[in-house]
């Protein structure tokens, strides 16, 4: 039996055992969907493996059984007889397997009878499920009788085969062991397998298996088989030795001129080498997990009639064998997915202008304590719309929720349970088990997976996994009297916060933030969340001092305040005892060189505590810098205080920079205060007079720029950047305030920046500087969002246009019918009842208005949307926050139509 087959054999036997148990459990408790899912997945795996090993009989049987289970998953009622039938099928399966183990081939004959039955029943159930939809479907009594009859027939047939089975049980395991043993190359992994097969042998057959291995001792071998437990034990002992050595060094260090020094040095070296050696025994090149892949690709090529080449880069990259074993299956699964769904067949590829041969690239490399694995194909890519559609249909998210997500966020839904985009079910993949299993397996070992895809170009999956689970590099920090270890992999950088430095801690209410490269980083005081200090003590603490550990979890950044940072140390992770495991903030404990026990902080646990709103999403920051991809309903708002404690906010997208300007740099001029800023004079405006009254050394200034003109708005404190959906709720008569909104569950004034722009430049100045050339042209502005109706028209007015505002397309049309004349129409695209596209069609079909240039405003800037805009007659399309773009579009539209108008 070859290596793959023997591995399949032992794996499948194990899987079937689980299937038996889970099926029975499920019968007793039909609400146990998780158990059923497990059965389904196992069968799915068996089907897949059988498929590529060319085990036709097993593959077909598994497929039919899987179909039936799928009906249960979709809510068909489970009866005893159905479970019995399934179990019969599993038994048949085992019988074929035993035969397979015996001869290395599937037995002659087929299982058409039982497959037909399975199919008939699942088709029946499926029909009823589709017809009856809600609730459960049960078989009618005749059906059930029929099944009973069938089972009896089958049992009759089984009696003959069970006889064979008995004999087989004697033979198979021993046979298996001998074969693998004999073919054992000096590769640890193969021995591993032999070991597994040997373990699979029933207890009673142990003697026989042992006899078999004695026989094979005659073979020359340069390696020996070592039980994993032995290595684990050695590993533990070496860890202890390292700790003891560290302790000794600590003692000797305290005594001068000690004659222990030389021998201790030697002991130390030997210990280090020993540790390395033992670690080495656990490390294996990742190529071992890749061995089966070329064969897998070959058979997939045949099965799918495709031409896929596989490229493997970095096969020599080593990682812990425990981790290696755990990623083997997910990897196979993903390759199969890429080949089936990703890469197109030759004809399609040629038609798309690609090479006829598809390519899957598998690569691995080390990166800071992690191994980065990537599986990339050059196939058709994942269509985001299809994913979104499927997400909505399967109820994983609503359209509204999806609308707020970036493409990469939507793509991540492929890792959700029960998700698949292929409409047809093939024997290779496409049932919606798979990616969720892949993800959960990877997360189990502390890794993460992400996907990126470009339509027509390809898809790549990036997996990040820790090199080893046993020893991690950690930063030792002190909080109060306690020391803690923080895993290095989560630490992005260390910042020393000091009152007078660039990095300082600032406070909003009780919340502290750090100014880091002109961004606000939310901070967590470790002593606070661990409740090591009373609130009073926390408040008394000097708030501007301390070390900040900038932690990165997923794509989220936040800072952790600690009192002191020592050094990094390789630590051996030891599990916490039972009652301590419930504490979210710790992932384990360890011993330090000085013999003390310290706790390992679980950054993921801490991140959960931070919550999603408080931390900065790195994605979002990227978005803001584009300034184009912001959605209407969720925007990033910069929250600050000025004059009073009530928070105020402006959209972050319109803020150019945050600056601190010392009071003595501020100069007074006839038109107000100015500061020299980047070689020019920048007017400064105080949000209100009380800001000016404060006795301060420096002011926080929000800088707004437009073209090469800047102005500074002076505020008290920058509080936070909040990603929130908000609606301006109450209008305001107060100059400089657009209205109020609830941001981060606090009532917040939304500042009208244009008001201050007006103050800064005095109005006539604004017109020439902010617009291109002041033209008394009239604009019809249509937008359903209060926020933009308040925000943009003042900007347009400041640029010298007369602006009429409408809150819906219908109103706008009424206004025009009543004789309103406009030079340009600026309209939002996404509006209720009549959207911007429809609005444009109406305008363009009316000979009275069809010459009026129209500009579309939208938060979406996808190329498809742009094309649509052009099609219905918009001359241009501007992102909502792109004021500069809007003004230049307006200018062009007016000068372009100057003759016509």
């Amino acid at each position: 039996m070859d290596e793959l087959l023997s591995e399949f054999f032992s794996e499948t036997i194990e899987s079937l055992e689980v299937v038996d148990v889970e099926l029975v459990k499920f019968e007793q408790d039909p609400t146990n969907i998780a158990g059923l899912d497990k059965v389904f997945r196992l069968l799915h795996t068996v089907k897949g493996s059988a498929g590529f090993l060319g085990l036709d009989r097993l593959g077909k049987l598994a497929h039919a059984t899987e179909n039936l289970i799928d009906c249960f998953r979709d809510g068909a009622e489970v009866t005893d007889s159905l479970v019995s039938l399934t179990l019969e099928a599993i038994d048949k399966f085992k019988w074929i397997l035993e035969k397979l183990g015996d001869s290395g081939e599937e037995p002659e004959g087929d299982d058409q009878e039982i497959i037909d039955q399975l199919n008939a029943i699942s088709d029946g159930l499926r029909e009823k499920l589709d017809a009856g939809k809600p609730g459960t479907v049960s078989l009618n009594p005749e059906d059930d009788e029929e099944i009973q009859k069938l089972i009896k027939e089958l049992q009759g047939q089984e009696t003959s085969s069970s006889q064979t089975q008995v004999n087989l049980v004697d033979e198979v395991p021993a046979e298996n062991t001998v074969k693998t043993e004999a073919s054992a190359e000096p590769i640890k992994q193969e021995e591993e397998k032999a070991e597994t097969s040997a373990k699979k042998a029933p207890e009673t057959k142990a003697d026989k298996a042992e006899a078999a291995s004695t026989e094979s001792k005659g073979l020359k071998s340069t390696s020996i088989r070592v039980n994993m437990d032995t290595i684990e034990h050695l590993m533990t002992m070496v860890s202890e030795l390292v700790l003891t050595r560290n302790q000794l060094i600590e003692i000797v260090r305290q005594q001068d001129d000690n004659h222990f020094k030389a021998p201790l040095q030697r002991l130390s070296n030997i210990t280090s080498e020993l540790q390395e050696g033992i670690m080495q025994t656990r490390m294996q090149p990742i190529g071992h997990a890749w061995q089966q892949i070329p064969r897998l690709i070959r058979s997939l090529n045949q099965q799918l009639n495709k031409n896929i080449q596989i490229e493997m880069i970095g096969a020599e990259t080593e990682l812990d064998r425990q981790v290696l074993e755990l990623i083997r299956d997910p990897l196979t699964h993903m390759i199969r997915n890429s080949a089936d769904h990703g890469v197109e067949d030759s004809e399609t590829r040629i038609a798309a202008g690609k090479t006829p041969d598809g390519k899957i690239t598998l690569s691995a490399h080390h990166e800071g304590g992690h191994i980065i694995l990537s599986i990339a194909d050059d196939g058709r890519g994942i269509p985001v719309e299809k994913v979104a559609d499927k997400v909505v249909r399967s109820g994983l998210a609503t359209e509204a929720e999806l609308a707020q997500m970036s493409d990469s966020q939507v793509l991540r839904y492929i890792f959700e349970p029960g998700f698949t985009t292929t409409s047809e079910v093939s024997s290779v993949s496409g049932r919606g088990v798979g990616m969720d299993v892949v993800r959960s397996n990877i997360e189990l070992i502390g890794g993460s997976i992400d996907v990126s895809s470009k339509l027509g170009v390809g898809t790549s999956f990036i997996i990040k996994i820790p090199l080893t689970l046993a020893i991690i590099s950690a930063l030792i920090v002190q909080v109060g009297d306690n020391r803690f270890a923080i895993p290095q992999t989560n630490v992005d950088e260390l910042v020393r916060a000091q009152a007078n430095s660039e990095h300082r801690i600032e406070t909003i209410d009780q919340t502290r933030v750090l100014r880091l490269r002109n961004r606000l980083l939310p901070l967590i005081d470790l002593s606070g969340i661990l409740r090591m200090k009373s609130d009073q003590e926390l408040n008394d603490k000097n708030e501007n001092e301390g070390f900040i550990i900038v932690a990165n979890v997923g794509n989220r950044l936040f800072g952790i305040i600690v009192d002191a940072v020592y050094h990094t140390e390789e630590i051996v992770v030891k599990p916490l005892s039972g009652p301590l495991r419930e504490i979210d903030f710790f992932s384990g404990n360890t011993l330090l060189g000085d013999g003390s026990v310290i706790l390992i902080v679980d950054i993921n646990g801490v991140a959960k505590h931070v919550g999603s709103s408080a931390s900065i999403e790195t994605d979002d920051l990227a978005k803001i810098s584009d300034g184009t991809d912001l959605d209407v309903s969720t925007s990033s708002m910069l929250v600050f205080t000025a004059g009073s404690n009530e928070p105020k906010a402006v959209p972050l997208a319109i803020v150019t920079r945050l600056e601190d300007i010392e009071v003595d740099r501020i100069e007074s001029s006839s038109s107000g205060d100015v500061v020299q800023y980047r070689g020019r004079l920048m007017p400064l405006v105080y949000v209100n007079e009380s800001v000016k009254m404060l006795d301060k050394k420096a002011y926080h200034v929000l800088v707004f720029s437009d073209g090469d003109r800047s102005m500074g708005l002076i505020v008290d404190e920058i509080m936070d950047i909040v990603d929130d959906s908000f609606e301006v709720e109450i209008g305001s008569d107060e100059p400089g305030v657009l209205g109020s909104a609830i941001i981060d569950s606090k009532a917040t004034d939304i500042i009208d920046v244009t008001h201050y722009v007006g103050i800064a430049f005095s109005n006539e100045n604004v017109k020439s500087e902010w617009g291109h050339e002041a033209q008394a042209r009239s604009i019809l502005f249509v937008d359903d969002s209060v926020f933009f109706r308040e925000m943009l028209p003042p900007v347009l007015r400041a640029a010298g246009y007369a602006v009429t505002v409408c809150d819906s397309a219908k109103d706008a049309l009424t206004l025009m019918e009543n004789g309103g004349k406009f030079d340009v129409i600026v309209s939002d695209l996404e509006m209720p009842s009549m959207d911007g596209l429809e609005f444009a069609r109406v305008i363009k079909s009316n000979p009275n208005y069809n010459k009026i240039p129209m500009i579309a405003l939208s938060s979406f800037t996808a190329p498809a949307a742009l094309a649509k805009c052009k099609e219905v007659g918009y001359i241009s399309h501007v992102a909502k926050f792109d004021r500069h773009g809007l003004i230049s579009s307006l200018f062009e539209s007016i000068s372009g139509t100057g003759v016509a108008a």
């Binding site: 202890e240 009652p579 301590l580 011993l591 026990v597 310290i598």
Partner: protein, 160 residues
């Protein structure tokens, strides 16, 4: 009355009608820990506090390279804490899987007591005591409370 005593609880600790205990003191009360469950007795030093853990947990400590979770018997029995600076002793417990130790005021001698000096704990005993006691031995001058170790470790659900 004594003829009705149900010895089944104590018999699990007894060999030939004799029970062997490591006796310890917590606030002047004598307790007996069945000797088979005691791994060792040691003086704890540098206990690492575990923030957010149940109050019964004094912390974790290093016992010759093993990380041991220490349970403060005074807290467990709802007694006032030891005065600052007072020494305490630790009794390492063999729980089969995880390592625990009980912090007590002091450790006395090992005692061998006949089963017939045992009786069930008085029904009026405070809950936190009743829960961890497997009855009482009558000694000449005092009473010895038998500690039911697995119940001592079983506090997390009560703490919540």
């Amino acid at each position: 009355m004594s003829s009705n005593v149900d010895y089944s609880i104590i018999n699990q600790y007894a060999v030939d009608g004799i029970c062997e205990y490591v006796t310890v003191r917590v606030m002047d009360q004598l307790f007996g820990i069945p000797i088979r469950q005691v791994r060792e007795v040691f003086t704890p030093d540098s206990i690492t506090d575990v923030p957010l853990s149940a109050s019964e947990i004094a912390g974790v400590l290093n016992l010759r390279g093993m990380i041991v979770t220490a349970i403060d018997m005074r807290v467990r029995l709802k007694l006032p804490p030891l005065p600052v600076g007072a020494n305490c002793m630790a009794v390492g417990i063999d729980d089969g899987q995880e390592s625990y130790c009980l912090l007590v005021d002091s450790v006395d001698e090992v005692m061998r007591l006949p089963v017939d000096s045992w009786e069930q704990a008085p029904i009026t005993l405070d809950d936190s005591w009743a829960e961890i006691s497997a009855g009482v031995h009558r000694l000449d001058r005092s009473l010895l409370v038998v500690v039911q170790v697995k119940n001592v470790l079983n506090f997390s659900k009560n703490a919540a």
